[in-house]
């Protein structure tokens, strides 16, 4: 049933989060995440009928700025921090995708 944590599948969640866990981490996180979600049951017991969710608090007024072209970060400098990049070609590089 949705909304219960009895079926937490840590391996599946790790795959979604792109984390490669060791068997020890999988065992530890299964217990700890189950404990934390059990602790969070107090939230689910609160009556929220008709209560709108809050994503964040602001002033309610959007902040605008002029849509002017501004200088961006220097490409060579940005690529300096990129692992395995090709600064001469101006490209990030990654292992083959397929």
């Amino acid at each position: 049933m949705a909304g219960t944590h009895d079926d937490i599948d840590v391996a599946r969640v790790a795959a979604l989060a792109r984390l490669e866990l060791t068997p020890e981490e999988t065992t530890l996180f299964t217990k700890q995440l189950t404990d934390i979600l059990r602790y969070a049951e107090a939230v689910q017991q609160i009556d929220t009928t008709g209560v709108p969710p809050t994503s964040h608090f602001g002033t309610g007024t959007p902040v605008w700025r002029h849509d002017d072209v501004q200088p961006s970060l220097d490409r060579d400098r940005v690529l300096t921090g990129a692992p395995g990049a090709s600064p001469r070609a101006g490209l990030f590089k990654v292992p083959k995708v397929l």
């Binding site: 949705a2 689910q44 921090g81």
Partner: protein
């Protein structure tokens, strides 16, 4: 600690009077760091050359001096400075050199501050002790076997141990106020939107806010003044007028209405903390403030609400660490997917993985409404409780933490017990409100205790006025 010559205002005054120079102040800070940092480990990185060059340039400059002219400032190591390694306490960013300055750095330097270096913090701000730092922990100057608090623990230690008069931290669930309380300094989390987060390494974007550590409320006000205001680089930095915070410190709190959520505070608060809190309330009443019982019923579940909301946001924010554009990359991956998985496994520590996993789970199909949306609804109720309270009071008073600083290692094995250290600090960020921790006493073991005041949104002025008057009233809390 906290003598006039160690405060930002005292130092500014001395430089203005010509009794010292920015360079001498910088050298004094560096000498103090050299003497105390090996034991306390507040700083992960000190850039002495940059700081001294900057201080000498300030001494050479003619014309009007900024409000922080020559004042050394420490930065939590999740705030970017162009060319200065910024790790966020993570192996993922151990060698990351940002190509740009955070807006708060530009603002501090425009005000004349001298950036000294970067302080130890829990990895991606996830923790309450600095023990989750890949480079930590920092140690509490009051007892080096105890935690300084976290996640901005190094910044709290830097100020508490007189290494720098000011430091910046960031607060998501208490990460400024809790270490301020543990280390016996002032720590302020501004209203959500008061200070630009451009250049702050994101943890939970609906909660994160940068704020100051200082010896005095007046110094915190001075620093807040310098870093506040809208920013074209951050649309959440609101176009709200920034009042004159130093002018707000009138010392007069006669008639100030203080709300106290007494029924909640009866649960699980250390007796010495309760005693210090009651003495603090009496000191406020002696200055003319009045006390009013209020109720914040939904703040009782603020901790689980926080861990559902913050981890959901963290799982999204930390998706960017994929080994492609910056940060760590595992060198021998054969495929892109392999590189992602193994880079993230190698780069993230246990608490970060735990929170990414929790956040991924609560956002996943079938659980999103039951956990994430539900938590956001209760977040609305937490704010409504405060709105209702603020209809009849000006500020809300609570202890900052339920206990004084705990021993390093004491809570490591049990994440929930560690999370409970933030029980009184998570409500303010969930409700978007400003809150400040001010030292209010010591335990018998000589560990600091913090008084927390929470204010109305955008009303840091009242918060600072109340905190400053309290500070004057309580006098030497170290006694």
């Amino acid at each position: 600690m906290g003598a006039p010559e160690t405060t930002a205002r005292g130092l500014r005054h001395a430089i203005q009077q010509g009794t010292t120079t920015a360079e001498a102040a910088c050298e004094a800070a560096l000498a103090r760091i050299a003497a105390t940092n090996p034991d306390l480990h507040a700083f992960h990185l000190v850039d002495a050359e940059r700081a001294l060059n900057r201080a000498r340039a300030l001494d050479r400059a003619t014309g009007p001096q900024g409000p922080l002219h020559g004042v050394p400032v420490a930065l939590k190591d999740n705030i970017t400075v162009a060319g200065m390694t910024t790790t966020a306490g993570s192996k993922m960013l151990a060698d990351y050199v940002p190509p740009y300055d955070a807006t708060v750095v530009e603002k501090l330097e425009a005000a004349g501050a001298v950036i000294i270096g970067k302080t130890i913090c829990d990895e991606f701000s996830m923790g309450s002790s600095t023990e989750n730092s890949a480079f930590g922990p920092s140690r509490n100057p009051w007892d080096p076997e105890r935690a300084p608090g976290g996640s901005s623990g190094g910044s709290a230690v830097a100020v508490a141990a007189d290494m720098t008069p000011l430091a910046l931290g960031s607060d998501t669930g208490g990460s400024i106020r809790q270490p301020a309380a543990f280390c016996g300094v002032v720590g302020l989390k501004p209203t959500y939107g008061r200070v630009s987060r451009y250049g702050l390494i994101a943890y939970a974007s609906s909660l994160d806010q940068i704020g100051p550590f200082a010896h005095t409320v007046a110094d915190a006000a001075l620093c807040l003044q310098a870093i506040s205001g809208p920013d074209p680089h951050d649309s959440t930095a609101a176009a709200v007028e920034v009042p004159d915070y130093e002018a707000a410190l009138t010392g007069d709190i006669s008639g100030l209405r203080i709300g106290v959520p007494r029924t909640w505070l009866r649960e699980g608060v250390d007796a010495e903390v309760t005693a210090a809190f009651e003495r603090s309330l009496a000191a406020l009443v002696a200055q003319g403030a009045t006390l009013h019982d209020i109720d914040l019923p939904h703040s009782r579940v603020a901790i689980p609400v926080y861990y559902l909301v913050a981890t959901a946001e963290a799982s999204s924010n930390l998706a960017r660490y994929d080994g492609v554009r910056y940060g760590l990359r595992i060198p021998d991956a054969r495929t892109l997917g392999d590189m992602y998985d193994r880079t993230r496994d190698a780069g993230f520590g246990a608490e970060v993985k735990r929170r990414i996993m929790l956040g991924t789970y609560v956002l996943s199909a079938g659980y999103y409404d039951a956990y994430y949306v539900k938590a956001q609804q209760v977040r609305t109720l937490i704010r409504r409780d405060f709105d209702q309270a603020f209809a009849t009071v000006d500020v809300v008073a609570m202890p900052t933490t339920p206990t004084a600083a705990f021993p390093l290692g004491a809570l490591n094995a049990d994440p929930i017990q560690m999370y409970l250290a933030d029980i009184f600090t998570v409500s303010a960020p969930l409700a978007g409100l400003p809150a400040i921790s001010v030292p209010c006493g010591l335990t018998r073991d000589r560990l600091p205790i913090g008084l927390q005041l929470t204010g109305k949104a955008w009303d840091e002025a009242t918060l600072l006025r109340a905190a400053d008057a309290f500070e004057q009233a309580i006098g030497d809390w170290r006694g």
